[in-house]
């Protein structure tokens, strides 16, 4: 029973025919929402649209009605990229942002600008579009000069019209260009609008996706369907690397219209009815080989320290850190550990693939559709120029989650059975099998002189070795297809050095041969733990020097932007200057304290400081975060409200990571596979969050999807230290861990019980 049986028309269910028409154009057959998505997201023959990033027409298309479509290879994963890019283009073109639509990540129509990662969405994606728009502006002004018979220098473009800057009749952009292509190369020297005269960039324009997201009409990849499409569920083994020994197909005989698909050790159920596929996948009896390839997550810090090292790398070597520390009046050292963490996307990944011969169209929420196209073509023997990956929104991904894997599942299945296939990962698939942010172990030592100056600093970090090449796709490995086995987790050594004045600094990286699980870039990769360690340790130094944590930092900083974010945070927070720990007890049995942290992202980008208030319950070990204040400087601000949303998200998500999140695994498999075994922060724990944005129109814009995550865990640990006198150096700060630490370490800290 797979055929839709409803006797209803769409508008009777709360979706109007207009919604459908708006979204899809043709509203279809019977009652299907198959067409409920934008025209550009449908499979279509090549349009001949330029894709070369050196061509203006690759990035923008003018339309006869005065609207403009922007094409970018960077994607909006709920981050507000679309509105920000629209604003940047609108500003240069002199066309209202409301008339600008952004199409992102469709390899069929968007230029390749690299994957969406490392906070490059605007710094590269937006900047390329801006330069193309600036080039177009000059061309439009030239056209307008001819039409109006005025010198270019006297003209401007505003509200979609080329007109004399001094006033007088103009001509619309639509009249000048219609829907014709410009056929121009991007001019890297085309002048950009002066930020001091911006009227669109800097405005808190609402995001275009939010109304549809709040009314149930936004089309996610999960909602996309094709005629004749089958639903699939993949059955993963109980052990990583296990081989499929046998399958008992009779175990699903009672379920209508299901088919078992086996390719090597790749096992899936396909069915026209989604529930049939789900139910059959749960009932299918399969025997797998036993594999025990993992070290287990218990004691992963010890495993990491003992792991065989592939090579050492001196990332930073300034002066002679070890000698300086050796001669210091006061020496300190500490070890910090960050566990494996999952992207844990709320919506398990989904993809639809339609493979035809050596070509394919794949609908995916991958953050790197162009890279995915290349890899899928190579692995599945498809012709790259006949493969199109269409980006459709997914659930927030925060890096490379299971999206590329599920796309490979769909391609393998569609190729095998010759029909379009939609693969929806389960909760257990996503939390268990997404490639993950690796564990990080750090030792830090430093020396203070008698005056409390930092005379030397040495960081050692143990990180899993990175290997070039694409990340291996689960489906291809299971099917026995040859492929690359690259290992990448992003730029994970950055921010291992302190931003504070000291002449002697060394950062030494021990790249270990093995990684327990497949690696991925997870929001603020590497920086998340490095800043946790560096900023926790800075607090330890401040305490050792008997100094207030903010005063200690400010005395060792000279960069005015660094100083300003700290000062603004302290001011808004109401920071009382004193040393830690807090001499006062809290309300009732609660221990109260405050902490802060500062960092400059990648030591080259955003400046972020934040402070928070916590209350720790020694009876339960529960940490309550009451209030967080953050000052954030990412240079020029494109859209302050979308930016604030990102910064707030960075803060709350990282509180979740710091308080709760740890991937657990036994010798065979990941055992944290749902929201019970991989808990995250819930609403009752949500703190009050205040974000102060510092706009610097005279400075280059910087990406903001990650930076504010980096100082959160340290500020939290520092606040817990202030409240309790106990230093938490291992993430997550679970209740059990906090309770145990309080029980064993709190004596002798000088805090009155």
């Amino acid at each position: 029973m797979a055929t839709p049986q409803s006797r209803l028309q769409p508008d009777t269910l709360g979706i109007s025919r207009r919604d459908l028409l708006k979204l899809g154009g043709a509203v279809i057959v019977s009652f299907a929402f198959e067409a409920a998505l934008p025209d550009w997201a449908r499979a279509q023959p090549a349009t001949g649209k330029p894709l070369d990033p050196t061509d203006v027409d690759s990035f923008l298309a003018f339309h006869a009605d005065g609207t403009v479509t922007i094409y970018t290879g960077k994607v909006d994963v709920g981050t507000g990229l679309r509105i920000a890019v629209a604003q940047m283009a609108a500003e240069e073109l002199g066309i209202p942002a409301q008339r600008v639509t952004v199409v992102d990540g469709d390899t069929g129509v968007c230029p390749d600008q690299g994957g969406t990662g490392g906070s490059t969405g605007l710094t590269r994606g937006g900047a390329d579009v801006r330069q193309a728009a600036a080039t177009a502006r000059q061309a439009l002004l030239a056209l307008g000069a001819t039409r109006l018979n005025r010198p270019i220098a006297e003209l401007t473009i505003a509200n979609g019209e080329v007109r004399p800057a001094a006033g007088g009749a103009g001509v619309t952009v639509a009249t000048l260009i219609g829907d014709r292509r410009l056929s121009l190369k991007v001019d890297a020297k085309a002048p950009l609008r002066d930020p001091l005269h911006y009227t669109v960039v800097g405005q808190p324009l609402p995001r275009p996706d939010v109304p549809d997201k709040c009314t149930g009409r936004h089309v996610y990849v999960h909602d996309f369907t094709l005629p004749g499409m089958l639903h699939a569920r993949v059955i993963r083994p109980n052990a990583i690397g296990a081989a499929l020994v046998s399958v008992d197909e009779s175990s699903v005989r009672g379920i209508p219209d299901v088919r078992v698909v086996r390719v090597g050790s790749f096992l899936a159920i396909v069915a026209p009815d989604e529930w049939a596929a789900v139910k059959a996948a749960g009932m299918l009896k399969a025997v797998w080989s036993d594999e025990q390839r993992l070290p287990g997550s218990d004691g992963l810090d010890r495993w990491t320290r003992a792991a065989a090292v592939d090579h050492d790398q001196t990332a930073i070597d300034r002066g002679d850190a070890m000698t300086a520390i050796g001669g210091a009046a006061q020496k300190l050292s500490a070890t910090y550990f960050w566990p494996f963490q999952s992207h844990a996307s709320l919506g398990p990944c989904c993809a639809v693939a339609d493979v035809r011969g050596d070509g394919a169209t794949i609908w995916s929420s991958s953050q790197g559709t162009h890279g995915l196209r290349t890899n899928l073509s190579k692995v599945f023997g498809l012709a790259p120029d006949k493969v199109r990956v269409v980006f459709l929104d997914g659930s927030g991904s925060y890096g490379t989650n299971g999206g590329d894997h599920v796309a490979a599942d769909a391609v393998l299945l569609s190729k095998t059975i010759g029909q379009p296939v939609r693969v929806q990962w389960t909760r257990q698939d996503e939390t268990g099998w997404d490639p993950k942010g690796p564990q990080q172990l750090l030792d830090i030592q430093a020396g203070l002189d008698a005056a409390g100056r930092i005379v030397g600093w040495a960081t050692q970090m143990w990180l899993p070795n990175q290997a070039p090449g694409a990340r291996a796709l689960l489906a291809a490995d299971a099917a026995g297809l040859p492929q690359e086995h690259g290992a990448g987790a992003g730029a994970i050594t950055q921010n291992g050095d302190p931003p504070y004045q000291t002449d002697h600094v060394r950062v030494l990286v021990h790249w270990t041969k093995e990684a327990p699980l497949q690696l991925s870039n997870l929001r603020a990769p590497g920086k998340i733990a490095n800043v946790f360690a560096v900023e926790s340790f800075t607090d330890e130094l401040a305490a050792a020097a008997g100094a207030d944590p903010i005063a200690f930092r400010l005395e060792r900083l000279t960069d005015p932007r660094a100083i300003e974010v700290i000062r603004r945070t302290a001011q808004a927070f109401g920071w009382q200057t004193r040393r830690s720990p807090n001499p006062r007890t809290g309300t009732g049995s609660l221990l109260e304290g405050r902490g802060m942290a500062y960092m400059r992202y990648k030591q080259a980008e955003n400046y972020v400081a934040l402070a928070m208030d916590v209350a720790v319950d020694p009876a339960t070990g529960r940490i309550g975060v009451r209030r967080v204040v953050c000052a954030h400087d990412c240079g020029l601000i494109v859209n302050p409200d979308a930016l604030k949303n990102q910064v707030e998200g960075c803060i709350v998500q990282t509180l979740s990571r710091a308080l709760h999140e740890e991937v657990t695994f036994d010798r065979s498999r990941v055992t944290s596979v749902d929201w019970a075994s991989y808990p995250v922060l819930r609403f009752p724990e949500a703190p009050q969050v205040e974000v102060i944005l510092i706009d610097r129109p005279d400075q280059p814009l910087l990406g903001a999807g990650e930076a504010a995550t980096a100082p959160v865990a340290a500020a939290l640990a520092n606040a817990v230290f202030d409240a309790t006198g106990v230093r938490l150096r291992t993430v997550p700060f679970t209740q059990e861990r906090v309770k145990a630490a309080l029980a064993t370490e709190r004596k002798g800290t000088g805090i009155v019980q």
């Binding site: 029973m1 049986q5 409803s6 209803l8 769409p10 009777t12 269910l13 709360g14 979706i15 919604d19 009652f31 709920g78 981050t79 609402p206 996706d209 939010v210 109304p211 997201k213 709040c214 009314t215 149930g216 009409r217 936004h218 996610y220 999960h222 209508p256 009815d273 989604e274 529930w275 139910k279 996307s345 709320l346 919506g347 929104d393 997914g394 659930s395 927030g396 925060y398 929806q424 389960t426 909760r427 409200d641 979308a642 949303n645 707030e648 998200g649 960075c650 803060i651 709350v652 998500q653 509180l655 749902d674 929201w675 995250v680 922060l681 819930r682 609403f683 009752p684 949500a686 969050v689």
Partner: protein, 153 residues
Amino acid sequence: MASYAFRLNGRAVSADSWDPAQPLLYVLRGRFALHGLKYGCGLSQCGACTVLMDGKAVRSCMTPISRAAGRTITTIEGLGTRDKPDRVQAAFIAEQAAQCGYCTSGMIMTAVALLSTTSSPTIDQVKQGLAGHVCRCGTHTRILRAVVRASKA
């Protein structure tokens, strides 16, 4: 094959299913193409699939179709549209209370149910009311503000 009749977004409908245990989620998304509710876990742990059944927020991922028979079901599509959002949707839009938005529909449905029984909730009551929902993007601050805003609309 059994047929199940119920009211859906104000209309009488019926759906056939070969399995009385088929979760409402697959019926609503598959048969009726109502895609606002989302699959998140299939375990009632995250709230992304929340709909109203007789005015109460339920998890459609663990509500069998047989239990929906004779009931009144409301999905996010039944509340309002982009042009004419209901007060909770309008408040979420006004607060820009979404990032990826995958959790949003479920949150809005629970908020509607909460406000139907607690018309002026405190911030702590809203927090408790949404405790069964996961927002992975960390949009909590805005979502809380939106529900309080809706209660005053």
